[in-house]
């Protein structure tokens, strides 16, 4: 169940429509990058797709099942979420923190077993933090904490990983680290939905791009179709130009300062 599709998805909070009529879809191993201005409802959209809000209207199909009918425990084995800007204040060691992702595989009274530990070891290699397994989370850098959060989600063995602005609090080096990880995960056939403010990041990792223009309009298409000067300028209500970079083999986006 790594395919997710919404039809006329709407969600209101306190009778105020946050998102309206969103038709979104993603299939196996694809990366969908969602762009949109601040406060437009990106986080709400991602929360709906993660199963956090059941009172949406329209439909969200995960595989061939309606999302709200899937029990939380079952859903957690298919979909994992990395929330935005969560400052993990934990004195747990990295390996014990990652183990928390295995909680849904156990009853309240049981303890993690050998298999859980194997999953954690696998993910530690995947996120490149094998050498930090016994380091307490509070002693880690921002980038490492973000990788740890992604790791905690991966330990759930999801086929769909949803990340809300996974690079927003990171320096450039760590942004690249996380984006490379996202690429590698999609090569392993995990579908990924991320939100970001940076069209260049969408260009770097996206197979699909979705623009949340206002709470009435969502358009989605391939990276080439959507990441155009016109769409981006309209989206951010500021002139954005693009230029092809020979060394990077891709378009880069920017704005003139004069």
């Amino acid at each position: 169940m790594s395919e997710i599709a919404t039809k006329k998805l709407s969600f209101a909070y306190d009778q105020k429509k946050i998102i309206d009529n969103v038709d979104l879809s993603i299939s196996d191993g694809q990366i969908l990058v969602i762009l949109g201005p601040n406060g437009i409802g990106k986080s709400t959209l991602l929360s709906c797709l993660s199963g956090l809000h059941k009172s949406y209207s329209g439909s969200i199909q995960l595989g061939d099942q309606e999302l709200r009918t899937i029990p939380k425990k079952v859903l957690s084995h298919h979909v994992a979420l990395v929330s935005q800007g969560v400052n993990v204040k934990s004195s747990l060691k990295l390996t014990d923190y990652l183990l928390l992702g295995r909680s849904a595989f156990h009853s309240i009274f049981s303890q993690p077993n050998q298999n859980d530990q194997l999953q954690v070891d696998r993910v530690l290699t995947q996120i490149g933090l094998e050498d930090y397994r016994d380091i307490s989370l509070q002693d880690m850098s921002g980038g490492q904490k973000q990788l740890a959060q992604i790791g905690r989600a991966l330990v759930q063995e999801p086929q769909l990983l949803i990340m809300d602005e996974p690079t927003s609090a990171l320096d450039y080096k760590n942004q690249i680290l996380v984006l490379k990880l996202i690429k590698a995960l999609s090569d392993n056939n995990i579908s990924i939905i991320i939100s970001t403010h940076d069209p260049n990041q969408a260009m770097m990792v996206g197979d699909l791009v979705g623009l949340l223009i206002d709470n009435q309009t969502y358009i989605q298409g391939s990276t080439e179709e959507i990441l155009t000067e016109k769409y981006l300028s309209d989206l951010y209500k500021t002139p954005i130009v693009s230029t092809y970079n020979q060394q990077l083999h891709r378009n880069i986006f920017g704005t003139r300062m004069d």
Binding site: S47, S50, G51, L52, K72, K73, V74, L75, S76, H77, V79, A80, L81, S83, V86, V88, K89, S90, S91, L92, K93, D96, L100, G101, S103, A104, H106, I108, F109, S110, Q111, P112, D134, S136, Q138, R152, A153, Q156
Partner: protein, 330 residues
Amino acid sequence: MAKRHKNKIAMVFAIVVLIVLIVLAMMIGRYHLTLQEVMSYFLNGASSSTKLILKLRFTRILAVILVGAGLSMAGTTFQSVFNNGLASPNILGVATGSSVGAASAILYGMPIYVTELAAFIMGILTMFLTLVIDHFLHSNSSITLILAGIIMAGLMQSILGSIKYIADPEDQLQSIVYWEMGSFMKVDLSSLFSVAPILIIGILFLFFARWRLNVLALDEATIKTIGINPTVNRNLMILVATLLTAAAVCLCGVIGWVGLVVPHISRSIVGGDNRWSMPMTGLTGAMLLLIADTLARSVTVNDIPISIVTGFIGVPIFIFILLRRKDTVV
């Protein structure tokens, strides 16, 4: 792996120290006994007078161990669930609330099981009201929960004062005052038997559910997407911790500092993972309260209320913890 090995050694060491403390506590008292006399009690060969003393002492020691472990584990639970190192049965008002329940039952001359029930209901009610006040203070700061607890503890203290005011000074007042500062002096086999099952069930529950507590310290959205219901799990943990506090209050009154300080001591030994710190908290709490009670019943001719002793032990430890405050709760 090295850390895990270290934790195992610490745990075995704590068990050994607890056993040694039990034997010492059996020997120490107004009538000092030798190691041989204590050993022969367990091997069923002591003289009848020694047997009587040791039976009384052993009953009291069992009560102390269960209460020490129970209160400390309740403290660890509150601190994990609220992600707040200052949360404890006393600071959240649960202990004072329970003592209001117990005092009311005493006022009406109720039997022990009604006293227990009243203590539990008032404990839960106080906890609930503390959370309601915290909710209305509209803040994400961890200090508002503590303020809410202080408000509720203050209110409960006033109600307790009123109960004392109308209590019969000949009989009831003494029992109620006994509750306020905590003492194991009146613990006998029948009171222990009526409360011990609740303490044991609560302790076992928290022991086996200790890993789940780790995940409850994460943020709400993450817990949900991990597949755990945060509300149900948190409330269940709060309920069990409150039950333990109420049971302890019924047996020996309000004991200060243990539920606050012991979880910090335990975390400094084995780290923040509740899989290790929960059992370590139980053992350390049992040890600390056993030392406090042995002092309370042996340094003067009369029993000293135990909260006086735990205060003298707890305050310096707590200052030390605040000075080197680096550890978050989990």
